[in-house]
Structures are given as C-alpha cells and as structure tokens.
Symmetry: C2
C-alpha cells in the first residue's frame, strides 16, 4: 500500500489527497510533524516538507506538483493535466499561481498565523498579517470568478489539477471560516462543484482537535 | 520570432534562456522592469513576473518551469525532462529545490539585497540577510557535490532541466562573486561543465551597468 505523509491544513498535502481520490488510488495517511525534523523523514525528503508519497516498493516522491504530475503520468485516467503542450502550460501556470502566489498572499497569513503559530507555540497571531490575508483573498476569489465565467473549469472545459490546487488552498482557509463567499457567487458555485466530488469527501471530515471548523465547512450546500 | 521578457539577474529568466539555447530556438530578449507594473505586460502575465515567453503567433506563457516544460513538450530534442515518470519526478523535485529553496535561502538574500534593492532605491543591503545567504549557499554546494558524486549530472546520466535550473541560480550568485568555489571541488567541476556549453554563453556576456561581474565570472577555467 502507498503512504502519503501529510499535515492536516497543508494545502499541498490536500492537493495530493484529492488527486489520489480522483485517480481512485488507495493510500494510507500518516501525519508528519515536519517541525520535529525526524531523521527518517529527512531521508525520504531532504527538504523536510510534506507531502511525500511513498509507493509500496519504497520509492519516495516529494512535493505536491511533482507527486501530482507523477501520478498523472503513471495513472493517466482520468487525465488531470490537459491535452497538448499549451493546455498543460495553462494548467501548470494556475497550479503555480495558487501554490505560490495564493500561498504567500493568503494561506501563510491566515492558516499560518491562526493555526500553525499556535501549534508550534510561536506566540499570538499577527493581526497585520491576518488583515493582509483577508484583503488578499478577495483578489483571488475574483480571479477564480473571472476564469470560470469564461471557461467551465479554471483551465478549460474539464476539471484539471488547476482546480484541485486552487480548491485545496481555498479549503484550508474555509476551515477557518475566512472565505467571504457571499461576495463571490461565481467562485462559490465553482467551489460547490468541487466540494461535492467523492475525492473531496475525506478533506471535509478533517477535524483538528481544539480548532473545529465552522458549521458550513462540511456542508455541500453552504 | 519569439520574444522572452526577462531581467538580467533573474535566475528564472536565465533558466529559460539556457533551455532555448539547448533546444537551438531563436528568440529576442526584452528587458521588463516588472516593478513598474506595465499594463501591457500584466495582460501577458497577470502575476506580473518574468520570465514570459511570447510565441510568434502571440501566445504568451509565464513562469520558468511552465515555459521550460512547454518547450520540452513542443520541441522534444534534446530531451531535458528525463525518461519515464520516476526520472521526471526527480528532475522536477530538483527544479523545485533550486527555484524555491535555493531562491529563498540564497538568491533573495544575496542578489535581492545587493542588486535589486539598489536598483529599486529600497535602501542599503541588510547585512544579516547577506550573512545568511553566504552561510546557506554552502549547504547547497555540498548537496550538488553529493549528487554529482553519485550521478553524472544532478538528476542522472544526462543533462536535464535540474542542472539548468541549478546553474541558472548559481550563475546569478557567481556574478556577485559570492560562490565559495575553493571549498567545493565537485560542484565546481559540475558548474565548469555547464558553463562551457554554447547555451550558457550569452549569460556570461551579461553586464549590468554600474555592477560589473568579477573577472572569473566569464572565465571557463575559473
């Protein structure tokens, strides 16, 4: 059986969980406290970060984009990267948009400050960072709306890794109740479509002790 | 003719210049002052970052990894991504290592502080950041040495995008004279091999007004 080393509110880990679900590949989940820098884990991934996927034969693959592309190449059905070089370039551009830009502008400011800091005993959340995160997410939700108004899914006519990446990030912020859904109907409609997929179900059952999600987090009709 | 929008000491731009050179694809170079947030450029790449490649037919592709994979798919000779899902995963893991980890730990601290800050009139360099960058690069040079001791190139028996990505980052720091080559013979041997490739030549001729490179920067026998 393959094993995915992950953290609960790591959007990068969530991205791989959804990909594994879409590909209908069975896997065990192992929580890795990356901040403890466990030696056995550093041997799997010298960068010391989750997610890491370990195949049944022991092969270890690190990084959410790397793992996702590897899974799409080795299990091509359903295809998640688009057809042809240009479509794949658009899928990859949007993956990077959310994995880097959204991560830096939103996830780190909200999930980082509200959850990770408390977990790691790094003091109280920085209210300036939280304000920045709450302001920044508006631009990203507007961008999602702009894209799905012109296309069925973020990168084109089919669900791709771009949607999965964006939804993984949004889901972490939604766990905190910090997504202003009321102002972004198009983005909300897109997220409702992803949220109702079987591959998303396990994410909605995540429950961090001492930091329960808001009531609407699990609700498919939010 | 295709056009590459770039900045001189952007390792991400340099990476694409080398890939275009390895693929023997002709291109025009356009310097983009991304900090001016020019409207025409933001239409090409809403993230506002270089590199952006614009094909002769007007198609724009953004981001160094995205452009590189696009070029490798549309111009497969010579192959730069490795053969098979596992080899490609290793190439991509190392690309990410240098594009994110090296960038954050070394490039931003050295090139960002010494060159970009001065360019943008953001005050004098932060000596703590520079000390951190100079300490961090040692680990990365040791890692390069560890890899090439076991393999011919970083990801295996052939030159791949992993080598190109690493060399693009290292070349920017080398322009500042901040690579401690004397202590890292294996990494130095690897860099000498890349530096002598025709695809690298134009990088060695870069010359930023007011910030000339050290004498050894262009020297193939450094």
């Amino acid at each position: 059986m393959r094993t995915l080393y992950h953290n609960w509110l790591s959007p990068h880990s969530r991205k791989v969980r959804i990909v594994l679900g879409e590909k209908k590949l069975a896997f065990d989940l192992e929580v890795e406290k990356t901040w403890e820098r466990r030696e056995g884990f550093l041997r799997l991934n010298p960068a010391g970060e989750v997610p890491v996927l370990v195949e049944a034969n022991g092969t270890a693959i690190s990084g959410s984009q790397v793992i996702s592309e590897y899974l799409d190449e080795s299990h091509p059905t359903p295809p998640l990267m688009g057809a042809g070089p240009l479509e794949r370039a658009e899928v990859r551009r949007l993956c990077q948009w959310f994995d880097e830009k959204f991560d830096r502008e939103v996830t780190v400011n909200l999930v980082g400050e509200k959850i990770m800091k408390r977990f790691l005993g790094l003091g109280s959340p920085d209210s300036t960072a939280i304000r920045a995160g709450k302001a920044n997410i508006n631009h990203h939700l507007a961008y999602i709306g702009y894209l799905v108004e012109r296309r069925t899914w973020l990168a084109g006519d089919h669900l791709t890794l771009a949607d999965i990446t964006a939804a993984a990030h949004v889901s972490c912020v939604d766990y905190l109740g910090d997504v202003p859904w009321a102002n972004f109907a198009l983005a909300k409609d897109w997220y409702a479509r992803i949220k109702s997929r079987p591959s998303f179900r396990s994410l909605l059952q995540d429950h961090i002790p001492g930091a329960p999600p808001p009531r609407h987090y699990q609700d498919l009709d939010f």
